[in-house]
Symmetry: C2
Subunit: 110 residues, 2 copies
DNA sequence: CAGCTTTATCGTAAAATTACGATATGGACG
DNA sequence: CGTCCATATCGTAATTTTACGATAAAGCTG
């Protein structure tokens, strides 16, 4: 217990913290559905100032949940597939002592 | 986007937020390994005041991640298996648009 | 080049979280 | 009953997070 968290655990906690904010959670969900990587649209859709949204995007970026790419005058954000996948794997194998991993639906009802 | 989060999404975000704090993350991991539900031990192992630990336990309890049961003069905390399982299921099926759920190890190498 | 659009960053105010000590409650035990 | 032990809660200080406006950078377009 007194031993520090591992690098992976710290990364995981960072991701969870980033997603724990409802606004950021919404942003990630939105980016996941709108395949096209929108950026200023997010600002328009949220009741927040542009600078605030930009900060949230930064948090998500630094947590490895989304990726930003400068595209002309704008910036194009999209889901960081690898990061999300890593998170899902981590949670899937988390606490095996107490909870077995759930079967993917596809395997339950092929 | 402007539509509010669903009840489930709010519950999920609440859990993620609770786990996003490294101290609370540690507590959950500790409770998962120490099958016996300890309570004051956590206080002794963490470099925090008893009242602070009690507060963290409250947050975890209200997020549905752990359960507390009064046992004589002490309180016995343990993992809320249902809650953790729910969380894992949610994350496992999260954002199916962008990431397929990972196969449990048991199915990859039976 | 000048003006427009889109973003990021900075400084700062407001709000929330985190931590502590003090205090109250309630069970065990002499 | 009085004392100890374990916990929860309250009030409050310190820290962090969240939000905003202002400003700067960088790329289009006329």
């Amino acid at each position: 217990m007194d031993e520090k968290l591992t690098t992976d655990q710290k990364r995981l906690a960072r991701m969870l913290k980033a997603l724990g904010n409802p606004i950021r959670f919404q942003i990630v969900e939105y980016l996941a559905t709108s395949q096209t990587c929108i950026t200023n649209d997010i600002v328009r859709l949220l009741p927040l100032a542009q600078s605030t949204v930009s900060q949230h995007l930064k948090v998500l970026r630094e947590a490895g949940l989304i990726k930003g790419e400068i595209e002309g005058p704008a910036t194009c954000y999209c889901i960081d597939t690898d990061g999300i996948q890593w998170l899902k794997d981590q949670i899937g194998n988390w606490l095996p002592e107490c909870c077995a991993p759930a079967l993917p639906k596809a395997l339950i009802q092929p």
